[in-house]
């Protein structure tokens, strides 16, 4: 599956349509967080893994290579040491005759020179072809000793030259034997045999300069220690680990040793004798730098991941907040459009209904009017007063219908906009004149707080009058006799003025406030048409303004109309 298909399938940016609004945005936020964390952390993780392996390989190389070099160098030192001594013995066997070597004085002289020139020689002896030591110089009394049954004796007869493994022998300290067989032209054979102590081996290992936790030693081909080990055994004991595979060049293995430690084992096989030089270094020491680096890498990764996660949380929070805000705005606009559309549809319906009702009502009006006329003009109409009253009742009902249909039509048409520059304070004063008598009669407290320097605005006088009249009518209806109705005007901002009409009347419940701009919603029972505030709302919107309602039951209501100083582009369309 391609990444594109995967994303399509997983669809992390999908926001469920179902469920509470809060849940939907939570799901979106959660999905965005997952997606962003995946997108940012996966490359970081990959980079960390790649770096980890690169560093590890590089560091290992840096650690292992010197170890290999050291082993090679030391192996060569060993080989050189043994080769020198083998050459020396070989040279003497060639340079001196059997008789000369059989003479202990001569042998002693040669031995002294050898000891002076080459360190490590312990003794020197001549052995005939039967294995009997004919002459001997050294610290022990070995003249006449029979070596015929010893393995090295047979080996030197086969090979011509021989270096033994370390052994204790008669001498009771670790040593090796270097023996060379010499064959004269006449076919006579004899063996020159020297013993070399292995102190020099220890010196060579010492010269490697290993740290305290490391170990170096020689093994023979059977895994027997030729030199003592610090951790794994003494001379001639068995090496506890399995022998590494044969390699004459220094190699490095990673092992788990008998002490439970992970170790690097660097080793090299000798060609002759069959020794193995082994250096053991604990991994923990060698890789100390690597472990430090590894911890630093891990800490760096954790910190980076932490920062990324924090940033992702903050970012998605802000992003989802913006999306939510934008959705809410869109929904508000959509609701407003729906409301406007609803008003407009109802308006068209109302216009049709009103027109269709108006014509028959006009006929009823005229017929009832004629009836009344006839009764009035008749000199002696029986029960004249009663019939006149009945006709009047019909005419009054017609008038009531007339006012309803006229308001319906007024709501429908929204009236034509006639724009002029005007003073809203003046319009409010004019509008108040319609209501002043009622205010006086009901002893209402009219509180005017109009800004003297209120900027003039470009708007429609008639429509503004209707707006203010509708709101004032509602305020007057809401207050008890003696109640307060206030009018305030001010400049809200450089583009807008505000008119607030407040009362200390009955106020409205929150439920009522939700519906007051809906057509035919009324709290006045049969007295109201439910069209006053929808018309007001429609006009204010048409003029490019806004209307706000703040109301509390039992405390009163304030309706604030915000009007633009100049008609907006969309207003009046």
């Amino acid at each position: 599956m391609s990444i594109k298909n995967w994303f399509k399938k997983v669809n992390l940016l999908h926001m469920p349509e179902e469920g509470a609004v809060h849940d939907r945005y939570s799901v979106l936020r959660r999905n965005m967080i997952i997606l962003m964390i995946l997108v940012t952390l996966i490359p970081l993780l990959l980079m960390a893994v790649v770096n980890y392996h690169q560093y590890r390989t590089a560091l290992k190389g840096e650690i292992v290579n010197p170890l290999r070099i050291l082993v090679n160098k030391t192996k060569h030192s060993f080989e050189l040491f043994l080769a020198e001594r083998l050459s020396a013995v070989s040279f003497i066997a060639s340079a001196y005759s059997f008789d000369e070597l059989a003479d202990e004085n001569t042998l002693n002289r040669i031995f002294r020179v050898m000891r002076r020139e080459f360190r490590g020689f312990v003794d020197l002896g001549l052995i005939d072809s039967k294995g009997i030591q004919l002459s001997y110089v050294g610290p022990y009394d070995l003249k006449g000793k029979d070596y015929a049954e010893q393995s090295w004796f047979h080996e030197v007869q086969v090979r011509g030259g021989y270096i033994s493994d370390v052994f204790m022998g008669y001498r009771k300290f670790p040593h090796i034997v270097i023996a060379v067989q010499h064959r004269t032209e006449t076919g006579r054979t004899w063996i020159l045999r020297a013993t070399v102590d292995t102190e020099k081996f220890d010196d060579l290992i010492e010269s490697m300069g290993l740290d305290a936790s490391s170990d170096a030693f020689l093994l023979n081909k059977n895994g027997v220690f030729q030199t003592p080990s610090k951790f794994y055994g003494g001379v001639l004991e068995q090496f506890p680990l399995s022998l590494p595979p044969v390699s004459y060049d220094a190699s490095v293995l990673e092992e788990h040793d008998s002490r439970g430690q992970d170790v690097f084992v660097s080793y090299a096989y000798f060609v002759h004798p069959a020794y193995i030089l082994v250096v053991v270094k604990p991994k923990a020491d060698v890789l100390k730098t690597w472990y430090t680096l590894k911890s630093e890498l891990a800490i760096l990764f954790i910190i980076s991941a932490g920062i990324i996660i924090l940033a992702v949380f903050k970012l998605t929070g802000a992003l989802v907040g913006r999306i939510r805000e934008s959705d809410e705005k869109r929904e508000a606009v959509f609701r407003e459009m729906q409301h406007t559309h609803k008003l407009s549809s109802i308006g068209r319906l109302a216009a049709g209904v009103a027109h269709e009702i108006n014509n028959p009502m006009a006929i009823v009006n005229e017929k009832a009017g004629l009836m009344k006329d006839l009764i009035e003009y008749a000199a002696d109409f029986p029960e004249k007063a009663k019939f006149l009253s009945l006709a009047d009742a019909i005419l009054q009902s017609v008038q009531r219908c007339r006012s309803i249909t006229h308001r319906l039509l007024g709501f429908a048409r929204r009236m034509e906009v006639q724009i002029e520059v005007l003073d809203v304070n003046d319009i409010l004063q004019e509008t108040l004149t319609f209501l002043q008598k009622e205010a006086l009669y009901r002893n209402l407290d009219l509180r005017l707080n109009m800004a003297e320097d209120l900027p003039r605005i470009t708007s429609d006088r008639g429509q503004l009058q209707q707006v203010f009249l509708n709101i004032l009518n509602n305020a007057f209806a809401a207050v008890e006799d003696g109640g307060m109705v206030g009018i305030a005007t001010w400049e809200k901002d450089p583009d807008t003025i505000a008119v607030a009409i407040s009362d200390d009347g009955t106020g409205m419940s929150e439920e009522t406030q939700k519906h007051i701009f809906e057509p035919f919603f009324t709290t006045k029972g049969g007295k109201g048409t439910g069209l006053g505030l929808p018309i007001t709302y429609g006009i204010v919107k048409k003029l490019g303004g806004e209307i706000e309602v703040h109301s509390k039951e039992g405390k009163g209501t304030t309706m604030t109309v915000y009007l633009p100083k100049r008609p907006k582009e969309s207003a009046g369309g």
């Binding site: 216009a351 009103a354 027109h355 108006n358 014509n359 009502m361 006009a362 006929i363 009823v364 009006n365 005229e366 017929k367 009017g369 004629l370 006329d373 006839l374 003009y377 017609v398 008038q399 219908c401 007339r402 249909t405 006229h406 319906l408 039509l409 007024g410 048409r413 009236m415 034509e416």
Partner: protein, 125 residues
């Protein structure tokens, strides 16, 4: 009795006959017509002083009839009746030179007052 010559034009026969009768009861001799074309033909025979004209009529509309009257009888005053309750028709009519406009259902006294004003006005508005 008034000697005003008034012509009522409205496609609703019930309305126009009843209105005519009510006007006659008040001493106003009002002729009537339920069709714009017929009204124009009646005017050719005897041009009235005042025409009370409905805006919405089938066939020749009130505004069409108004146009013809203004063209052929500039001295005749026209009072427009609108059933729409809208000022729009009224304003249109005013632009086209009607004397005034009234909205249905009518108040008979208001209508008589407008007729009186129309008759007594010396000049066309």
């Amino acid at each position: 009795m008034h000697d005003w010559n008034v012509l009522l034009v409205d496609d609703e026969e019930e309305f126009v006959t009843t209105l005519a009768e009510r006007l006659r009861l008040r001493g106003i001799a009002a002729r009537m017509s339920t069709d714009g074309g017929e009204a124009l033909r009646m005017m050719e025979v005897d041009p009235p002083q005042v025409v009370v004209l409905d805006v919405l009529m089938p066939g020749l509309s009130g505004l069409e009839v108004l146009k013809r009257i203004k063209a052929d009888y500039p001295g005749v005053k026209v009072i427009l009746l609108t059933g729409q309750g809208s000022t729009w028709d009224g304003i249109q009519g005013m632009r086209m030179g009607v004397f005034d406009y009234l909205m249905k259902p009518l108040n008979i006294d208001e209508l008589i007052e407008k007729i009186r004003e129309a008759v007594s006005s010396g000049v066309e508005k």
